[in-house]
């Protein structure tokens, strides 16, 4: 379905009247947005399709609560983000992070970052991404989310506030605390590497 021909307001009205075809079109329209959020915040061992389905079902259940105060896509994004956080919170904490948990490439990247001032090699960018996700995975869900949105996805504090429903001061405080925890993790890894 072409983006420019999609009449969201009319589609929502039809969905409210329980039109199955309109509901299908709405899912098709929003799928790229939802799946990108799901992929970037996907908890371990959760299938992206299951999580996307859960988000859409929540969206339909709460559709009557949508009053149009914010753009519909923002409203759906918030449902997606909070659903991902809920999934992350439901997961058990990982055991202690070790160098042995890293692949050869990831260990190499971490070593480069910890011990030298040099930039990460271009062909190691993918390993760097995996490493960042592994490190963020050691944090609590809220801390992980705020650093991911702020540092990795480069959203502004205002945008994060809108996506999560946290006020801007809370976003800043969480980011500060999360950086502190990440710093400790870095120090621990560096100590382990030396020993």
């Amino acid at each position: 379905m072409a983006e420019e021909t999609f009449d969201l307001a009319a589609c929502l009205e039809r969905v409210r009247q329980r039109d199955q075809l309109a509901a299908r079109q709405l899912v098709e329209h929003l799928y790229p947005l939802v799946i990108r959020i799901v992929r970037s915040h996907l908890p371990r061992r959760v299938a992206e399709e299951d999580l996307a389905q859960e988000i859409f079902l929540k969206m339909f259940t709460r559709l009557d609560q949508y009053k149009g105060a914010v753009a519909f896509t923002h409203w759906v994004s918030r449902i997606a983000v909070t659903t991902c956080i809920d999934q992350l919170r439901a997961q058990k904490r990982r055991p202690e992070f070790r160098w042995a948990d890293l692949s050869e490439k990831e260990a190499e990247v971490l070593d480069t970052v910890l011990t030298s001032e040099g930039e990460v090699a271009v062909n190691d960018h993918l390993a760097a991404r995996e490493l960042v996700y592994k490190l963020l995975g050691e944090l609590k869900p809220d801390d992980r989310l705020v650093l991911q949105l702020l540092d990795l996805e480069q959203h502004s504090v205002a945008e994060i506030s809108q996506m999560t429903g946290w006020n801007p001061s809370l976003v800043k405080v969480r980011a500060f605390r999360a950086r502190g925890k990440l710093k400790k993790l870095f120090e621990e890894l560096q100590r382990k590497e030396r020993s």
Partner: protein, 100 residues
């Protein structure tokens, strides 16, 4: 670690430059399945009506139970009184007494 922030930023910058799989193709039948589940199961009106009826039915059942217990008790009490009266009636002694 004084230069943690610089190290973290270097790592994150490299991570951002990694190619991202941007395949957003929807699995076959996903939209149909989700639409059917969302509109098929979410029937608050019907559920609410059923819920209200079941609560009323529960109250009615309680009322009927109490009524039947009360009726049975009263019935037993009355029939018990009759039996008590009858227990004083001894046809043999009445007959013998009458003859003597």
């Amino acid at each position: 670690m004084k230069d943690f922030e610089a190290k973290w930023q270097r790592l994150v910058t490299a991570a951002r430059q990694a190619p991202v799989a941007d395949d957003v193709e929807m699995p076959f039948g996903f939209a149909t399945r989700v639409a059917a589940r969302a509109l098929g199961t979410a029937r608050p009106g019907l559920l609410a009506v059923l819920g209200r009826f079941s609560v009323r039915a529960l109250w009615l059942a309680c009322l009927l139970t109490l009524a039947s217990v009360a009726v049975n008790y009263l019935g037993a009490a009355w029939s018990g009184t009759d039996e008590a009266d009858q227990s004083y009636f001894d046809p043999i002694s009445e007959t013998l007494g009458g003859e003597s």
